[in-house]
Structure formats: structure tokens, C-alpha cells
Symmetry: C2
């Protein structure tokens, strides 16, 4: 008998999560009841936000409870269905969590067309990261033609989409990424105008050189010193989109606030936080637009796929060590 392997949150981590913060469980594969569908998970999305979901306390979404299957976005295949809208063989995305099989009443499941885009892309550019980039950039960043946009995590799932859309909107686009390989990818494959490696050299000086007209929009995925540095280079009426702060998620000391926040005053600038879920009613609009850009060859995507559900604890950490290159996914079964 095949079992459903699951990974549950066993403890609230202090700092970087370790293997002992997880519990590995098995259960019989459930059988769908009336109007239910059984999905075989193929890919599990690993996202920086997951670290926040592991903490107790109020946030934009309730924390994952201790003993619960870890929350995660997933892409999979329907293998049994009593639901009129889903047939065996359908590819779907949803939030099945870190496990191999999941029942659903259909709510939160979305059928996707793997002829239009490969299944992993539905967890990246056409999934939450892409939606985050699209709405965060266009609605909150409000880039205008000729402006300069800087984005951190430039080679990552969100940052790569932010930069490419900003290019499509006529901006000068400067990325910040860790390592020469990611920077070259941003410039050579994604079409950024420049990309600065934050791990080497003088970040401020290099950004200044790359942004001779200053920074009009900064899309921040990392927080910490990088945010503080960009704050010294912003223009009047600049918009800073606070999407995340991956440098701070595992901090055991208090979060480093941006010392240079008074640059907001001097420059009459704005710093604004975003949460992708607020745009749910408009996901379809964004997905259609981004699929069109993909078809036209204007929007590239890249996934970093690691095999094996059991590697989850270590694979997740790649995000916080800057070791992933593209949208990080766990493949738990072959398509």
C-alpha cells in the first residue's frame, strides 16, 4: 500500500529552521468523498514567506499550527475525482502543503494548461511570485517610462519578474543579486541594464554608477543593509515597495530597521508594504498578460528544481542562504 508522506511543523524555529523543527509523518492516501478530488502533488513551491508562517503571532495570515502539515503552494495532477469541475489527469495548482497527496473540495484549486506553459511556471511567474511582482510593481511601485527601477533578489522568483516588467514599461532596470552568475543572468538573459553583486565591492558606489539618474522605484525583497543603502540614492517622490526582507527572516536579534528612513522625508518619498493575496480577484488578468509576454518571448522564467519530499528541510534553507537560482521548487513525483 502506498502512503502519503507529509512534513509537519514540529516546533517554532529560532533562527534558521533545522530538521528537528519538522516532523515526518505518513498516512493512508485518502479517498475522495462526494464532490471531492484527490490530487497527487508533483511540485511544491518553496517561498521565503514560509519562514514567517512558521512564527507564532499576528501577521497577514495565521501561522501554521504546531503539528499541522506545512503550508505550501503546490502543483499536481488529479488522480481521482467526484467533483464535476475536475477530471482525472487534470493539472491543477493549489495549496496542498508539504505532502504527496491531498483531498480538496475544489476550492482553491485552479486548473492549468501545461500546453501553454510548463507546470513549474504556474508556481513561479504565473503563480504567487509572479502575481506579487506584477501587482507590487505596477500598483504600488507605479513605474513611469524613463524612470530608474532597482530590484533586489534580482535573479529570484519575484525580482526577475519585477525587472522584466519594468523593462517592458520603459524603465532603466538595475538588479541587485548575490554572485556574478546571477548578475550575468539578470543582464544577459533577462535584459536588465545592469546588476550589482552585493557580495563584492562597494554596493553604494556601484549602485550609484549604475543609476546615474538616481532611483525612482525600489522593489525590496531583502531588507537590511541593502535597503539602507538604496535609501541613500532615491529621488524625489520615489516609491519603495516592501515585498519582503529575506535577510531578516531568520534573525535572532531584533530586525534591523532602515537607519536611513529619513531619506523618505528629504525626498518626499514613500515606503509601502504589499501582500499578494489582496489582489486575488485580479490574478486572472495578470496571468493572461504574463502568458502573452511569455509567448512573445518577452518574459523569461527559470526554476531551480530539487527532487525529493524528504529534502524539504534543507532545500528550504537554500532560499535564506541565497543558494537557489530561479524559482525554488521541490519535485515530489514525476509529471
Amino acid at each position: 500500500m502506498t502512503l502519503n508522506h507529509q512534513i509537519r511543523l514540529a516546533a517554532r524555529p529560532v533562527g534558521m529552521p533545522t530538521r528537528s523543527d519538522w516532523q515526518f509523518t505518513t498516512e493512508p492516501i485518502p479517498t475522495p468523498g462526494p464532490a471531492e478530488v484527490l490530487v497527487r502533488t508533483l511540485y511544491i513551491s518553496l517561498d521565503p514567506a514560509m519562514r514567517g508562517w512558521m512564527n507564532a503571532g499576528k501577521s497577514y495570515i495565521p501561522p501554521v499550527g504546531l503539528g499541522e502539515v506545512m503550508r505550501a503552494g503546490t502543483a499536481g495532477k488529479v488522480i481521482a475525482s467526484n467533483h464535476p469541475d475536475f477530471a482525472v489527469g487534470d493539472y491543477v495548482t493549489g495549496g496542498s502543503g508539504v505532502q504527496e497527496y491531498a483531498l480538496s473540495d475544489g476550492k482553491g484549486l485552479t486548473k492549468v494548461d501545461v500546453a501553454t506553459a510548463p507546470l513549474p511556471a504556474y508556481l513561479g511567474t504565473l503563480g504567487m511570485p509572479g502575481m506579487t511582482a506584477y501587482f507590487g510593481l505596477l500598483d504600488t511601485g507605479q513605474p513611469k517610462e524613463g524612470e530608474t527601477l532597482v530590484v533586489s533578489g534580482a535573479a529570484g522568483a519575484v525580482g526577475s519578474v519585477v525587472g522584466q516588467i519594468a523593462k517592458l514599461k520603459g524603465c532603466r532596470v538595475v538588479g541587485i543579486a548575490g554572485g556574478n552568475r546571477k548578475c550575468r543572468y539578470a543582464v544577459e538573459e533577462l535584459g536588465f541594464d545592469a546588476c550589482v553583486d552585493y557580495k563584492t565591492g562597494d554596493l553604494r558606489q556601484e549602485l550609484k554608477t549604475a543609476c546615474p539618474g538616481g532611483v525612482d522605484v525600489y522593489f525590496d525583497n531583502v531588507g537590511g543593509d541593502v535597503l539602507d543603502t538604496v535609501l541613500t540614492l532615491i529621488n524625489r517622490k520615489a516609491r519603495i515597495v516592501i515585498c519582503g526582507a529575506i535577510s531578516q527572516y531568520n534573525a535572532t536579534a531584533p530586525v534591523k530597521g532602515p537607519s536611513n528612513y529619513l531619506s523618505l522625508l528629504v525626498n518626499r518619498a514613500r515606503m509601502e508594504g504589499i501582500v499578494v493575496f489582496d489582489n486575488a480577484p485580479r490574478y486572472g488578468e495578470a496571468a493572461r498578460q504574463m502568458m502573452q509576454w511569455m509567448r512573445e518571448g518577452k518574459l523569461h522564467h527559470r526554476e531551480d528544481i530539487v527532487d525529493g519530499l524528504d529534502t524539504f528541510p534543507e532545500t528550504l534553507l537554500k532560499l535564506f542562504k541565497g543558494e537557489n537560482f530561479g524559482k525554488l521548487l521541490l519535485r515530489v513525483a514525476a509529471e
Copy 2:
């Protein structure tokens, strides 16, 4: 022969300015040339922003040069005029700096009517602090009826106006001020719903009690720990107006950034800086509205007037020690 006593910036202060950062000079009182006017300064406005103007480096306005008469807003009386728009005896406001007499070509001078409001009010509620409050609150804070507004420096020149206008717009208004006397003034004379003394007790707990529905708009004049505390209490889509950071202006260590800035993300909230000068074309509109509120008894003002140009170095420091109570002015001659 009467001389023009002046105070010039002698050195860029480190931390709190001291008497040795100033140079006391005297010059002959100048004689107006064609189309010029000579103004006798009566009141000099002392503002927290002056501390920033003493620092080198790029800001929203160039720094005061070493050896220059210190920049300051002033109210005075025309004592000689070759300018068609100004007659001897006219009361005017302008930016004559920290000195007793100044020539002007009329640019930047505004005639004011001391029958409508007392002259000191034209440097407070009807001057820069009032304009800062009016535009910062209404345009950037965007308070809506029924929302909760918190303002720090609640008994000060800006904060007192912010809170009173927010009351007029139907908000619950909670002040933060130093000392029981200022808090009582905010509640009993200005009509705030509550005021929390940041110097005693548990600021977060007291604010939480005073804001049972959370904080929708925070107008920040102080920065530091107070800003960080309010960030933990903001509601979704909250607006934080960064008007100043008086707690940080004399810091010799790096400015304390807001550790809790990720509350902006969780709450999809915004932090935005303002500079009053951007609203210059609309000062008249604001002044007319505020004069009307004053006539109707809906907008109270209070000045803290200290006599003597020579007391300037010490009087200025009252701002940074929280010792002033109302708009701080130096009276350099009797009306």
C-alpha cells in the same frame, strides 16, 4: 548708532549645538536701496528643522553656510521702504534669519493682518508649522471620518494643529507628548480624545488602550522608539506621515531606524515623508481655512515666547529637550 545684532553659524555642531557653534556679529543697520524694504525683526521662529540646516550635506534645502546668518522664519515690521507694495508700519513675515534687521526686495515677504490674528500666530499655526500640519495631515495622512489618528509632539506647533484638524475631520485623536501638563493641554484645551505621556508608564500599553480600534494614521514628529512602538499598532492600509524625527536630530550615533518597519508589509501600510515647501502655491488656501477655524473657536494656538536675541543658542535647545510648550519664538523687539 544702533547696530544690527546677528547670529551666524560658526561651526557644524556634533550632537547638541553649543554656544561655541555660533558667532555673534554686529553690522550697521543697512539702508534700503531702490525697491527695497527694511524690516525690524520682532519674532524669530525656532523650529526643529533648524538643526538639520546646520549639517553639511544634501537635504531638501541647502545647509546654512559657515559664517552665514542663521536661517530662520521671522515676523517683523517695515521701518523703511522704497518698495511700492510695502509701507512703513506694515507687519510682515519672511525669512530674515537670526538678526534684528534685514533688507528685502520684497520676495518672500508676506504682509499679515494683526487684527485677524496676533503676530506670533503667523509664525505658528498660520506659518510653516501650521502649513506642515495642514498639508501633511490632509494630503498625505488622508484621515477619514471615524478613523483613529495618533500624533506625536502633540502639544507642539505642528502636532497641536494636526490633532485639532483631525478632530474637525471626525477622527478619534490620540496625542503623544512629554509630561502630564502637555497631555492635559492636548485633551482639555485642544479637544484630543486622549494623550499618552511617553515619559511615564508603558507607551505601547497606554496607546493600545487609547486606540481600541488600532491606528489608521500616525503623524510622526519624533521618530525613534515612539515610531517603532506605533508601528506595532497600525491597522491595514495605515498611513504614517514622516514629518520629522526630533529624537534623532542631535544623535551622534547612527539614526535609529524603525525595527518594526515590516509592520508596513503585514498591514499593507505606507510611510511617506513630507516637506512643507512643496505646498507653497497653496499656503493661502490653508491659511484662509485655518483663520476661519480660529475665528470660529475651533483651532487653538499657543506660543512659548522667550525674550532676547542673545538667548538664541540656549532657547533653541528647548526644542530638543522637550522644554517648550507651544510654538517656540524668540522675541527680539517689542511690537
